[in-house]
């Protein structure tokens, strides 16, 4: 019979699996998301931006554990960079020159944001303006 020593649970010891909220740098993620929206969609009203940031934060907090750990690590590095050169420059840099791994972080946050904006407010203009009702 195949038994694993790497998995203590397989040896009969019941141990909870870590699936709950890992320690994510939530403030860094929220700040980055907010700034990315300002960069991409400058006319998006502040209250809508706040709703998008909250949505993206919830989705990232619900990522599968390995993805959440990876995103958390990248977000922490991005947050550190933002403290040195400023959040606006950091976002501008990453948006203009998508680097491996960091580019995936930008794409993730942007994807969540755009999907939420246009599903929730389909009339939004390409720059984030409220658009025509019913548009």
């Amino acid at each position: 019979m195949a038994r694993s020593t790497a998995f203590p649970e397989a040896a009969g010891r019941r141990r909870p699996l870590a699936g709950g909220p890992a320690r994510l740098p939530a403030a860094s993620i929220a700040g980055f998301c907010d700034e990315l929206l300002v960069h991409d969609l400058p006319d998006l009203p502040a209250e809508r931006r706040a709703a998008v940031v909250a949505f993206a934060g919830r989705r990232i907090a619900g990522l599968p554990t390995p993805m959440r750990l990876g995103v958390g690590a990248v977000a922490a590095l991005v947050g550190a960079l933002a403290r040195v050169i400023g959040r606006t420059r950091t976002v501008g840099l990453l948006a203009a020159r998508p680097l491996p791994v960091f580019g995936e972080y930008v794409r993730l946050v942007r994807s969540l944001g755009y999907a939420y904006v246009w599903e929730t407010w389909p009339a939004t203009t390409p720059t984030g303006g409220p658009g025509e009702p019913g548009g």
């Binding site: 019979m1 195949a2 998995f7 397989a10 619900g62 993805m67 999907a115 246009w118 599903e119 720059t127």
Partner: protein
């Protein structure tokens, strides 16, 4: 009466883990054969009509991790998994393709899957099609679907309408169909025959003693539950099933051969309104199959924005006309393979996938050909989903697509995950020809994991046919 005793224990003859395309028919057939069956489903029961198809609300309630899951690699490949009663059948496109004869022949010859006579599979497919009301749309197609047909016809490319498991009780329109997913068909059948379906129950691991699984350790909310059984059939899908087996100490050839159909997308804008926010086109173009096929994707405004987001500065203005825009895909049968690896102590596995050089070339070719097809269909602009892509307005622009496309810049996605516990009689198989996992006497897998490789078509029919075949074998062979 709750089947859970006060001490958090359930006793059952057969435990079925998961309630999707594999688990639901497995449970129904076993219960109808007189077995005492318990189905554990990690997700919730969400009835049709409670959520808008392909919406963020649906993703919250019926997808794993809200639909934000990806296989790591260059590039990462986004995928989705159902996590609800009925599994992927509640959220997929509902398109139905029998396993092609050449695929069955490959499984017999290359993977040495025994007892897989084509006639038997066809008979099971007949039965599935009756149960699920598989049919083509009785009336007019959606404009987005019609565009695919028109473009393919103009180029002389092979195309057809893919049947769906739908009924059309209120008329003949393509968008009036009611999905015959597992919560509408096999799950009620299983419950009528006495099976118990418990939602919100996640199986953390199976406990084995001398090659026999004897109980499952389960979490229901925050409450631990233990399920004792004689047989267990794992049907959690191509990611969760191998992860569960690995967590249970079963790792021989498990999780090493993840197969998918990678896709790249384009959005296309037409002069007329084509967008149907809560449905998908039913035509597919198979001129280059099995290597490459084209079809239509869900296209609500959020998903249109997503498809345009890689080159927003060029493509963004199209979002104001989202009713005239629909999203299409080019899917390939990939040579690449991925891994699913459970990590000690972590709830979710690591998933990776590596595209080969040929895969990348076929994706590039597919993107250009799909753009051409959509131009022929009358699109005024086509927007390929990769970073810094050009707007395609005429055939001459296709050269720029081929010149600038790189798969690492693209948003690559997939929905058809399979083959992580492949069956057969070769040294590479993880389970025997009927899904019995190597090294065990009573652990079986009846979901997309068991397909020996990617079938090159929508896999639900293949999964259901193999699950039914294997369940009948189980019923015929186990001692009671």
């Amino acid at each position: 009466m709750s089947p859970v005793a006060d001490d958090g224990r359930i006793s059952t003859e057969v435990l079925v883990v998961g309630s999707g395309a594999g688990g639901a028919p497995t449970a129904a057939l076993l219960a109808e054969a007189g077995f005492d069956v318990t189905v554990l489903e990690e997700g919730a029961m969400v009835r049709q009509g409670e959520v808008v198809p392909f919406s963020l609300d649906q993703m919250d309630r019926q997808y794993r991790a809200g639909g934000v899951t990806a296989a790591l690699g260059r590039p990462a490949i986004a995928y989705t998994e159902g996590c609800c009663a009925g599994g992927g059948t509640e959220i997929n496109s509902g398109l139905y393709r029998r396993p092609p004869e050449e695929v069955l022949e490959r499984w017999r010859r290359v993977h040495r899957v025994a007892d897989l006579a084509s006639a038997d599979v066809e008979t099971i497919c007949d039965e599935v099609e009756r149960e699920l009301s598989v049919q083509t749309v009785p009336g007019a197609q959606t404009p987005a679907s019609e565009a695919l047909r028109r473009g393919a016809a103009a180029l002389g490319w092979r195309h057809d309408e893919i049947p769906r498991w739908m009924t059309y009780p209120d008329g003949t329109a393509a968008t009036a169909g009611r999905r015959q997913s597992m919560t509408e068909t096999y799950l009620p059948r299983a419950e009528r025959a006495g099976a118990r379906l418990l939602t919100g129950h996640r199986v953390d691991r199976l406990v084995l003693e001398r090659g026999r699984a004897v109980r499952a350790e389960v979490t229901a909310g925050d409450r631990p539950v233990t399920v004792e059984f004689d047989h267990v059939v794992v049907c959690g899908g191509a990611i969760q099933s191998p992860a569960l087996l690995q967590r249970s100490g079963l790792r021989r050839n498990v999780g090493r051969t993840l197969a998918v159909h990678p896709t790249v997308k384009v959005a296309a804008r037409f002069t007329d309104a084509v967008n149907v926010p809560d449905d998908v086109p039913v035509h597919q173009v198979k001129e280059f199959a099995p290597d490459l096929s084209f079809g239509g994707s869900a296209s609500n405004p959020g998903l249109v924005a997503l498809a345009l987001s890689d080159s927003w500065s060029r493509f963004g203005p199209a979002i104001t006309e989202w009713r005239h825009v629909s999203v299409y895909y080019a899917a390939i049968t990939s040579e690449g393979r991925g891994w699913v690896q459970a990590v000690p102590g972590l709830r979710d596995p690591v998933v990776t996938y590596r595209l080969t050089r040929k895969d990348r070339a076929v994706l590039a070719r597919g993107l250009a050909r799909l753009a051409l097809l959509l131009l022929e269909a009358g699109a005024v602009e086509v927007y390929p989903s990769y970073r810094d892509a050009p707007v395609v307005r005429a055939r001459r622009d296709l050269a720029a697509v081929q010149g600038t496309y790189a798969t690492t810049r693209a948003s690559v996605m997939t929905v058809h995950l399979c083959s992580t516990v492949p069956i057969g009689e070769t040294p590479a198989a993880a389970a025997d020809s009927h899904g019995l996992v190597h090294g065990t006497a009573n652990v079986r897998v009846h979901d997309a994991s068991l397909l020996p490789d990617a079938p090159g078509v929508n896999p639900q029919a293949s999964v259901m046919a193999m699950a039914i075949r294997n369940t009948r074998h189980l019923i015929a062979t186990v001692a009671r």
